[in-house]
């Protein structure tokens, strides 16, 4: 498994990176941790002439929690997410999910930006960011624009990002309430058979806010507004949770693969959604 030749660039800042992208158009690709892209290149399933490595751009590496907002630079690794005490305090859901991604070595390299940017339906961070209501910051030749995580994904590997744009950061409001990330996989290192992120806020025994998003159950991550509606206003009793599970399940569209056929995945999705909501409620 040997990749084809390419030209390598290691710009020192975003402007330089954008200039390279501008020059080479769709012949160039940004590389972060590389653990999705490099295997594809080794299998010669992706062909590109220019690789733009972001590792020297220091500003992409910060985790900041300020004024009720979390900001994750695109080059923050899964390992950084797990190791950050500040983040564990502000958004423990992120740590819980990151621990379920890949394996230790891959988590040292794999970045949050890389995980959300390319639109791989198997990745965990896109669903997680939809659950958190995160905002993606894209910088292009015309400056920075933002896209809501819930609007970013169009189809498998198709996103709102233009070829000449770089996803530089993710921001989201510090979540409140209970949280859970439930993922079924065949083994460590596998993508999800089905996974669900849940956030539930309870006040005086009533659910005041909720957010439910799912991974690898469609060609894009799925945030279920109907599931939220089924929970908000209820006491999250069994009936309400059951309704939320059914609502969320109605929003998914899994496909058959080596993990199993569609009916199995739909069933397991229901189990993961239920467990995520129940655990989030128990922590709320």
């Amino acid at each position: 498994m040997i990749p084809a030749r390419f030209d390598y660039h290691r710009p020192g800042d975003i402007a330089a990176a954008l200039a390279i992208l501008g020059e080479h158009g769709d012949e160039a690709r940004v590389i972060a941790g590389g653990h999705s892209l490099i295997p594809m290149m080794k299998l010669r399933m992706t062909d590109l002439a220019h690789l733009v490595d972001l590792q020297d751009i220091a500003e992409l590496r910060d985790i900041a929690v300020e004024g009720g907002t979390v900001r994750l630079g695109a080059m923050v690794t899964q390992h950084d997410l797990i190791a950050s005490a500040e983040l564990a305090q502000a958004a423990p859901l992120v740590r819980e999910a990151a621990l379920q991604i890949a394996d230790p070595q891959v988590r040292y390299c794999g970045t949050v930006g890389g995980n959300v940017a390319n639109g791989d339906p198997g990745n965990d961070m896109p669903g997680l960011m939809q659950c958190l209501g995160a905002t993606f910051h894209l910088v292009g030749p015309g400056g920075e624009r933002t896209v809501a995580a819930r609007d970013y994904y169009e189809a498998a590997y198709m996103t709102a990002r233009e070829d000449d744009e770089i996803l530089t950061a993710i921001t989201f409001a510090v979540p409140s309430g209970g949280y859970a990330y439930e993922k079924q996989k065949r083994k460590i290192g596998d993508y999800a058979t089905a996974a669900c992120a849940a956030l539930v806020t309870m006040e005086g025994g009533r659910c005041t806010q909720a957010s439910i998003a799912m991974t690898n159950l469609s060609d894009v991550p799925v945030w279920s507004e109907a599931a939220v509606q089924a929970l908000v206003g209820t006491g999250c009793e069994a009936d309400a949770i059951g309704a939320a599970v059914e609502a969320a399940r109605a929003d998914i569209d899994p496909t058959e693969d080596n993990r199993g056929p569609v009916d199995f995945k739909r069933h397991v999705a229901g189990v993961m959604i239920r467990r995520a909501i129940e655990r989030a409620v128990s922590r709320a």
Binding site: M1, I2, A4, R5, R44, D103, Q184, R186, K187, I188, G189, D190, T193, N258, R259, G260, P261, D263, F264, H267, V268, V271
Partner: protein, 805 residues
């Protein structure tokens, strides 16, 4: 009695039989100083790699190599047309069939070797491969062996057109390879017709792959000055490879040197001969430079030898009290595009006729049909003796199904049918002579160790709780009592391509009392350098630490058939002991001369010969060794060396009792091993630490196979599980903690009573894991569900039984 502590101390110092001696191999491996094939770097070495077929069945219309030849660094693109004048475009398989080295007009499986690109390095080779253009014309694909035998099935092997006779007898269809029958058909059918109870089931043991962590590869170097071809490679049987290379190339055997350096796991995958070896050798002969070929993981999983793929239809008959009266089995064996099984010649289905297992079954009949399909060739013994894991899985499933049919406890059903200790040596209805065993003792020990009755009570309570809606988890108790048949084997009935399956050991004692032993086997992680020295230490009284064990170089090692099928200890281990005894016999004569007594007046005492009744008068082996070289002894040649070629009188029959306790989540299909107890009886135990390590590893490979690992094809013959993302190899997280235990029933015919152990845990482990899954659902009516028991298939069982409400 004053000698006793001294003798004990001397015994301990030898680190001989029964000691958990630390491994001598480890220092180099832990420091990154192993020497595996891909570590070999020779001056001017080139790299070769394959253009492979994306199609499972297609005609090769044309191969365009011009563009590839223009890629910088590419030196040659070899196709079947280039090999044809040398007669090397096809090669013989170990099973008496032949196999294309490079596609000769058509391809028969996805990933098949089509052209060999030789370049300055692996990057240039990869670029060259991309530039080779092959024109294919699709042909209809058959991946189902039953469909392959239909009258109008596509003809796969056009080279065999009109041949009604194969290597193993008549062929009755163009995709049929052989039929192999054992036992008494008529008597068995009669017993079944008259039986109180008959259980019938189709048991499928899916296709999987040994997947050693190091893939296959070689470096071939043709030294044109001296006319000598050297091949370093991942060979589990280096001498057999040398003979095969000689036979097909015409190069005399003394001009071929085969070297197996360190091997990163084999598990059967590295027994066979692969096109990469042939093409590397040819490329080296053509270019005059050393050529390396190392496959990648996808090549390994898709093209080098697979394992299993047996469809086993069974009928088992019993009295209503549960005494088994007969067993009938028919196997449809999917061999892929070429029959490249690595079985002894007279056994085209290996030792599958051990399928009567641990049970006294008076009447049995077995027939096996080998079939060609559009899948990769192979059929090797993946950490088991030849087809023994299939046999063990078959009988251990049939026993469970019979227990269901009888409404009996499966542990009790086994107990009343075990061959009794006093029946050994036991002649099985399918032709084996079991050398020794004590199954009842092992079984009782195992059941007591896990509190079997308590587990059954807990299981019954769990079922009740499940029915009341209080839990969604079920408890499975997986039982297995397996009997292996290893140590192939007696030359009178065991050979591969005519090469008798003896093995060998050659010992040289150095004058100062250390030694080197060379064997015809080759370690792939089993720790031969450690354990064979231990055997020898106990035999010749020199410390194991003073004995070097060397294997794998055909220029120096005595001829042997290599390491697979747990044969090293039963065969080469016996040769080692026998060679040691020859050394000792000569040593006794020398000692007698030195002590001026008659030979018979001496007795062996750990590391010395002492005068009977006068233990203060003795000569140590160290002293004897020096004298052997440096003192003129009338009537004796100088030196102290011996060689033994050991032809075993029988196989050995290790056995074991395993219990697996498994929690099953009915809603997700996820499983968790709560407890695994493994009792192994491998006869005399050479190194308990290494035995335990072998059991842990074999059980983990069994876990993988039973719970998810498979080579799966779609209908177009595309491999669906070609990387380690989809081909299940468990990590430390999925792997449970194991409890090991043992009984010791020495082999009566083996010089030290050892039987071999490396493969037992795989043979016994697979049915133990699978039976646990089945057992969890027994209360809800499950009889049989095929492996692998991955999440969705377990979920499907629950779904099919209506457990999802």
């Amino acid at each position: 009695m004053k000698d006793l502590p001294d003798s004990q101390e001397r015994t301990v110092a030898l680190k001989g039989l029964g000691t958990s001696r630390k491994r001598v191999e480890d220092a180099r491996f832990t420091q990154g100083k192993g020497n595996y094939v891909d570590d070999i770097k020779l001056p001017g070495m080139l790299f070769g790699d394959f253009v492979r077929s994306p199609h499972a069945h297609a005609r090769v219309k044309a191969i365009h190599t011009e563009a590839a030849m223009k890629v910088p660094g590419v030196l040659a693109v070899i196709t079947a047309r280039d090999l044809e004048p040398l007669g090397l475009h096809w090669m013989p398989t170990l099973a008496g069939d032949k196999q294309m080295v490079l596609a000769d007009g058509k391809v028969l499986f996805q990933g098949q070797e089509v052209a060999f690109v030789v370049a300055t390095d692996r990057y240039a080779a990869a670029d060259g491969i991309e530039a080779v253009e092959v024109e294919y014309e699709d042909l209809p694909v058959v991946t189902d062996p039953f469909k392959a035998l239909e009258p109008d099935a596509p003809v796969l092997r056009e080279d065999l057109a009109g041949k009604t006779e194969g290597a193993h007898g008549p062929r009755r269809h163009h995709n049929h390879i052989f039929t192999w029958e054992q036992g008494d058909r008529e008597a068995t059918e009669q017993v079944i017709a008259e039986a109180d109870v008959v259980a019938e089931e189709m048991i499928y043991y899916h296709r999987t792959h040994p997947c050693p962590l190091e893939p296959c590869g070689c470096v071939a170097q043709m030294d044109k000055v001296n006319g000598k071809l050297t091949i370093w490679g991942t060979f589990q049987a280096p001498h057999a490879i040398r003979t095969v290379v000689s036979l097909i190339s015409g190069i005399e055997e003394h001009n071929i040197r085969i070297v197996s350096p360190d091997i990163g796991g084999g598990f059967g995958n590295k027994v066979g001969a692969y096109p990469g070896y042939i093409c590397s050798a040819v490329a080296s002969i053509v270019t005059g430079k050393p050529v390396k070929w190392v496959e990648d993981r996808m090549d390994n999983l898709m093209t080098t030898a697979f394992a299993r793929d047996y469809w086993m239809k069974g009928r088992i008959a019993a009295t209503k009290e549960g005494k088994i009266t007969g067993l009938w089995c028919h196997v449809t064996a999917d061999h892929g595009g070429f029959d490249a099984c690595a079985d002894p010649t007279k056994f085209p289905a290996g030792f599958f006729n051990i399928c009567t297992g641990s049970y006294d079954i008076p009447t049995a009949f077995l027939s096996v049909d080998g079939v060609y399909t559009n899948k990769a060739p192979g059929g090797v013994a993946y950490r088991c003796s030849f087809r023994v894991t299939e046999a063990a899985y078959f009988i251990e499933r049939m026993i469970e199904i019979l227990a269901i049919e009888l409404g009996m406890d499966a542990a009790e059903l086994r107990r009343i049918n075990f061959i009794k200790a006093e029946q050994f040596p036991y002649h099985s209805a399918l032709g084996w002579e079991y050398d020794s065993g004590d199954y009842h003792t092992a079984w009782d020990k195992a059941l007591a160790a896990v509190d079997y009755a308590g587990l059954r009570r807990e299981q019954a309570e769990r079922v009740d709780a499940f029915r009341r809606g209080e839990t969604r988890k079920l408890l499975g108790i997986g039982l297995t009592h397996f009997t292996e048949i290893v140590g192939a084997g007696p030359v009178k009935n065991c050979d591969i391509l005519g090469l008798g399956m003896f093995d060998s050991c050659e010992i040289r004692i150095h004058p100062t009392g250390s030694a080197i032993a060379r064997l015809g086997t080759i370690s792939q992680g089993q720790g031969h350098a450690t354990t064979f020295a231990q055997i020898l230490a106990s035999e010749i009284g020199l410390p194991a630490d003073s004995i070097t064990v060397e294997e794998g170089d055909t220029d120096t090692a005595p001829y042997g058939l290599g390491t697979y099928g747990s044969r090293s200890t039963p065969v080469a281990g016996a040769a080692t002991a026998m060679a040691g005894r020859k050394i000792r016999a000569k040593a006794q004569m020398i000692a007698a001369y030195l002590l001026e007594v008659h030979d018979d007046d001496l007795e062996w005492d750990v590391d010395r010969f002492a005068v009977k009744g006068d233990p203060e008068r003795f000569k140590t082996m160290k002293e004897i060794a020096f004298a052997a070289y440096n003192q003129a002894i009338p009537g004796l040649e100088p030196g102290l060396e011996a060689v033994s070629y050991y032809d075993p009188p029988n196989m050995t029959y290790p056995f074991g009792a395993y219990v697996c306790v498994m929690e099953i989540d009915v809603d997700t299909g996820q499983t968790e091993i709560r407890q695994f107890y493994a009792l192994d009886d491998c006869g005399t135990r050479i190194n308990p630490m290494i035995i335990e390590g072998q059991v842990h590893g074999g059980l983990t490979e069994a876990l993988a196979i039973a719970m998810g690992q498979e080579i799966a094809y779609d209908e177009m013959g595309n491999v669906k599980t070609g990387t380690l993302m989809d081909f299940f190899v468990p990590t430390a997280v999925e792997t449970p903690h194991y409890t090991t235990d043992h009984t010791v029933t020495p082999s009566p015919h083996h010089p030290i009573g050892a039987k071999g152990v490396g493969e037992s845990p795989n043979v016994g482990g697979v049915p133990a894991f699978s039976n646990a899954v089945h057992d969890a659902f027994r209360a809800f009516g499950l009889r049989q569900s095929h492996m692998p028991h991955d999440h969705w298939r377990v979920w499907k069982i629950a779904s099919g039984l209506g457990l999802h409400g």
